[in-house]
Symmetry: C2
Subunit: 314 residues, 2 copies
């Protein structure tokens, strides 16, 4: 059994084409019905303002499955500790023996989450998409844009965040580390004016994006919501968009954007199905597409298999 720390893992696993293809293969297997993926195990620790989620999946034919444990303890910053944490255990799918423990502290989750955004944009956004609007200014605001560059020729970024200081810091960082021009906006509407792709990356409990904010032809990825209280999109977006896709229907209904649109009557597809069947849902440059990502165990198993291969080869 091998044990790896975050530093070792981060040295090997990057936001690159090979990682993207691995996660995309996981989604495709899910779409072909080749993935066993039980519901998320979730527990609250109310006295410490904490929660822990456990996700897993097995992709038929893959040598290992991951079990990911993600604690979130939101009073940790008062103690000088990060809120989010976590590790992945990798088990042999033949014997059930533990083969590796990846003490990644959430690093692989950050990577596979950003890659899912890129995969959504690859299959849903216009191929000539150049301009990205990002709502939120945290780590995923950076990683989602970095991952999008793997699938689209991104030339400019527009950012809006509730905290203008954080948005300014984000802009400075993105210019310095990613060489991208970034404009800070005072509203989501303003940030979206010329966007080809919009990514919402917030823990918002009330919509941060409205239907009226969206220009024609845009693709929206909402990646922030992962529990029933979180909600980034005005339900009208889900009702009016030409194409609505989610990573997993059961999860989006339970803890994603569909949870806040219970009366929605329309076709909603799963991302894995589109990939598996090679379907292109966008049929014109004017259509508006939306993808809600809640985060799935199949992404964890895919990225953990990939990480272990690289770490063992290193």
């Amino acid at each position: 059994m091998q044990i790896y720390n975050r530093q070792q893992i981060a040295k090997q696993v990057k936001l690159d084409q090979a990682a993207l293809e691995t996660v995309e293969a996981g989604f495709a297997a899910l779409g072909r019905g080749e993935v066993e993926m039980p519901p998320i195990l979730s527990m609250n620790i109310a006295e410490s303002n904490g929660e822990v989620d456990v996700k897993t999946a097995h992709i038929r034919g893959w040598p290992r499955f991951a079990i990911k444990i993600s604690p979130g303890f939101f009073d940790n910053p008062k103690l000088g500790l990060p809120s989010l944490n976590g590790l992945m255990l990798l088990f042999s799918a033949k014997t059930g023996l533990v083969e590796a423990v990846l003490f990644d502290e959430g690093y692989l989750t950050d990577i596979r989450t950003a890659l899912a955004g890129a995969i959504a944009a690859k299959h849903l956004s216009r191929t000539d998409a150049r301009s990205v609007a990002v709502i939120g200014a945290g780590l995923q605001a950076e990683l989602q844009v970095a991952a999008l560059r793997l699938v689209r020729d991104i030339r400019e970024v527009h950012v809006h965040a509730r905290d203008r200081t954080k948005a300014e810091a984000y802009a400075t960082h993105m210019r310095a580390y990613h060489g991208l021009p970034v404009t800070v906006h005072n509203s989501a509407a303003s940030a979206c004016t010329k966007a080809d792709i919009v990514v919402t990356t917030t823990p918002a409990r009330e919509p941060v994006l409205r239907w009226s904010d969206l220009p024609k032809g845009v693709h929206v990825t909402a990646m922030g919501s992962d529990n029933p209280h979180k909600n980034e999109l005005e339900p009208a977006i889900l009702a009016n968009a030409d194409v609505v896709v989610v990573d997993r229907l059961s999860q989006s209904r339970a803890l994603g954007e569909l949870h806040h649109a219970p009366a929605l009557q329309r076709e909603v597809s799963e991302l894995g199905t589109l990939i598996a069947e090679g379907r292109i849902l966008r049929s014109s440059a004017e259509q508006i597409s939306v993808c809600d990502l809640t985060g799935t165990g199949v992404q964890d198993t895919a990225i953990a298999n990939y990480a272990a291969r690289l770490l063992e080869g290193a």
Copy 2:
């Protein structure tokens, strides 16, 4: 973060009164509504005849919670490996950080499972119980009897197992290691004739114990069933017994003995409630009581906290 292996853990954690009190305290907290215990996460790996279960619970006020991962890969013996395996991770209930990894290979599960049987007998069997009948001849057939000695003055054991050779080996082992007289029987009915306590410890998919097998005044603990296909007790036992108790109603209905008696209309109590409220359900020496144990996350969190304290003190 500390990592402990099976040998280190087994050296510290034994079937003794202190361990029993810890698990009993966990059940009592569950009975008082002080435990957060989500449903078990369960995944099949059909291509390898495998499954993996994840259990967890947090006991309010306790410093740590455990997440237990139990793979069962039933073709492993062909490869010279044990079918069952597993580990427990202990997290700080204040910060969510991993504090210990207990690579116990299922040892702590064996212990807490046996202790639950003893706790059930402590609260449900006659105080003068002396004779135990055991159905099955595996590891739990041994540990359940050993644990019962913590709460009752056990003087003799009667065993029945489908495989007579295993039952004979069990008898030899119990005489040698536990100094108990053991009689091997050709049927469950025969083994139960003079029993004060009956424990079923099998992975049976059809009842191994019938109502007509039970003498007056007996207490029955069924600890084998932990998935919807398993079933040790004829439903008539649940219908006719004077007292029926389970470790967790939701689990017994989903994957324990109650699953096979869906039409049952009677009072069924949870073990933790009895302990928390100090209730004694047995009101005469003739009554027949039954307890179905499916195995709960609160036992895991209790025994893992206990193990970590001992290991840190060692």
